[in-house]
Symmetry: C2
Subunit: 395 residues, 2 copies
């Protein structure tokens, strides 16, 4: 038989990162290519204790089917944390627990996008969002970002001409660039977006991983009826539990719940209860500061590595938090060809290409600093700096 | 702002069952309305032990991001079980772990259905499948089923006229009817489907819950290149873990993995490892026979209840396994109006209406026997029989 696949699945890019990382499995390779939190700092023992408590006090509930919205008490805890950390008043009914925030993206695409509908994405932008919205046949409108935020002039013209349905942003310690929008940049974006029919999705997986500087205010403060927030425990507790959430206004939430039911009935309940018990019995802020101390040390080691081992003409971001540093090579150097040279020297990174909706052979690249210790970062950056130097000498 | 939702989400029926069950939360009500496995027989202690072993031997792996296909060893175990129980040779690469088999339905819809594409469903049929495929704007073509299987004459004419993309069947102890297709019925369906471009989805969540009779052979034996199988640990271990799987031919699997990545990256890894450890350390067959012994006792109590308390003119299926018994009232009695009368008498069931793609005010209903003990079933059936009797006297 011939299998006629849907048009939507033909449009989805296969994970480029996943493909290129297959060459990086050599254990000799120091990898800055990953996008993972550092597993050495997962609170394994505390989660095991939480798991045991759940099995002992609510084992049968944890193992039974559960409601689609997610555990009520866990949602209350998320709401309280929004109040405490961001001064936001979120009702429990406006929170839906998702199977990671990747599912938040899938559900938003599902309920909002018809074929060809416009989605504004950041350039460079998060690949998982591009994948999720591609499934619903989005037309992507990339807008360049800088340390201030989005290019609002470009945005304005897209809003007028294309009437996009969604604007997707990761305004804190963005993946891949490490960029955090300034308050002024947020104000400017909100002013442009206000009174349009474009919904803003604020994805904030890294926001709590701040090393220096002051927290910036959420778009939900500026555009409360027009903002959907995605959150996740993946970077602050552990990703393998796949517990994320969506905060959305009433009308949107109603559709999200229908879509959630149809997609997987509900998020794994044992994992929800483990996280809830973990939050009850442990100091999440203390745990986060353990992680951020380590990540910050590693970030500083990476910055020192660039300064020490890299030739002139290489630029990079100095992120105030998160897991990534973004590097811009001289414009005639392709990050993709540097990648192969770097692999020969036993160091890996992600070339910028997959983070652009259309551009290829870019001269930007992403460096992850969460997973390699300081000594490894020093060695790896010396190797990578050498590879850049060679590439520049041989042009 | 106005929120323009996608066309697809407007088409999805909200869960009718969920809505009507809101009236059945009174603890005095004996409920045959649920569709849940009996939580009293979840292997809580064994799963807690498995969880502890996972935390102790592979805690950091279990909590980290994992691959989209699912745990390799768990997939090997699933493949071995297919070999042992059904004589099927399944390669590990043709198995994808999903977040419950509801996600299997969502992924199949995602990769196969364009707007308006045809899906053959059983009548009555499983509501979760109707919901999942509605999201992808399927046109449903219901085909009546009986103890033999599908009405193949009707099916043939649909295949010719509508060229449906998918045929969806639950051939063992179907939800809602409890029906199991005969071998002859399976042969007939396969003969009609062969050489068409319609893919058969064999969803088999209840197949291992057999009380009497002999296992029937899978469609995968008859139409190996044209059959996708969905499986789940929900009914044989525990649903709260949300671990299901899809078995699909290579070309389909390739697309499924792309869709899985875009949907939620991967199924919760801790849960996969807990199930794997549970399977390694415990006798699943022994556990299943504990469950089936109880369910069978309850099924027999329910059948005795019908015989004892119900008036002439009420028909019902005698399922050889699973969790449901299907009842047909005299054709001028509406199950929906009986529902309200039954609630007054403190007994609940699911009227047949939601299990039909279009028909309403049907005279069929679904009775679940997995969750109420024998004494409760006797009392509940006496109440329900009384309600039926009254309804018949008052017509």
């Amino acid at each position: 038989m011939t299998i006629p696949f849907s048009d939507r699945i033909s449009d989805v890019p296969r994970s480029f990162i996943r493909e290129i990382l297959k060459v990086a499995i050599d254990p000799q390779i120091i990898s800055f290519a990953g996008g993972l939190p550092n597993r050495n700092f997962f609170p394994v023992e505390a989660l095991q204790n939480a798991s045991n408590k759940v099995f002992e006090t609510a084992g049968r509930e944890a193992l039974q089917y559960a409601n689609s919205e997610g555990d009520l008490i866990l949602r209350e805890m998320i709401a309280s944390r929004y109040k405490e950390k961001k001064g936001l008043d979120i009702k429990v009914d406006n929170i839906l627990i998702t199977s990671g925030s990747q599912q938040g993206l899938d559900l938003m695409g599902k309920i909002l996008l018809n074929d060809g509908d416009g989605v504004v994405i950041e350039e460079p932008g998060y690949l998982g969002a591009i994948q999720a919205f591609s499934v619903y046949r989005a037309s992507f409108h990339p807008v360049p970002i800088s340390e201030e935020g989005m290019d609002t002039e470009r945005l304005q013209s897209i809003l007028q001409q294309k009437k996009p349905r969604i604007l997707y942003t990761v305004p804190n310690f963005q993946n891949p660039s490490g960029i955090t929008y300034s308050e002024a940049g947020r104000d400017a974006l909100a002013a442009v977006l206000e009174r349009s029919d474009t919904l803003l999705i604020e994805d904030d997986p890294y926001g709590e991983l701040r090393f220096t500087g002051k927290d910036k205010t959420s778009f939900a403060k500026r555009l409360p009826d027009q903002t959907v927030m995605l959150g996740s425990f993946s970077k602050i507790v552990a990703p393998g539990l796949r517990i994320g959430w969506i905060v959305a206004p009433d009308l949107i939430m109603e559709k999200l719940i229908v879509a959630k039911q149809a997609s997987d009935l509900h998020t794994q309940y044992l994992g929800q209860l483990i996280i809830r018990q973990f939050l009850q019995d442990n100091d999440l802020d203390g745990h986060i500061s353990t992680i951020t101390d380590v990540y910050n040390q590693q970030r500083l080691a990476m910055i020192r590595g660039v300064e020490q081992y890299f030739p002139e003409g290489v630029q990079f971001t100095r992120p105030e938090g998160g897991m990534f540093l973004w590097m811009t090579l001289p414009s005639d150097l392709s990050a993709m060809s540097l990648f192969h040279r770097a692999i020969d020297k036993k160091v890996a990174f992600v070339p910028g290409d997959p983070f652009y909706a259309s551009r290829k052979h870019v001269s930007t690249l992403r460096l992850n600093f969460s997973c390699v210790d300081k000594a490894g970062i020093d060695t790896g950056m010396a190797r990578l700096g050498g590879a850049v130097r060679e590439a520049m000498e041989q042009r």
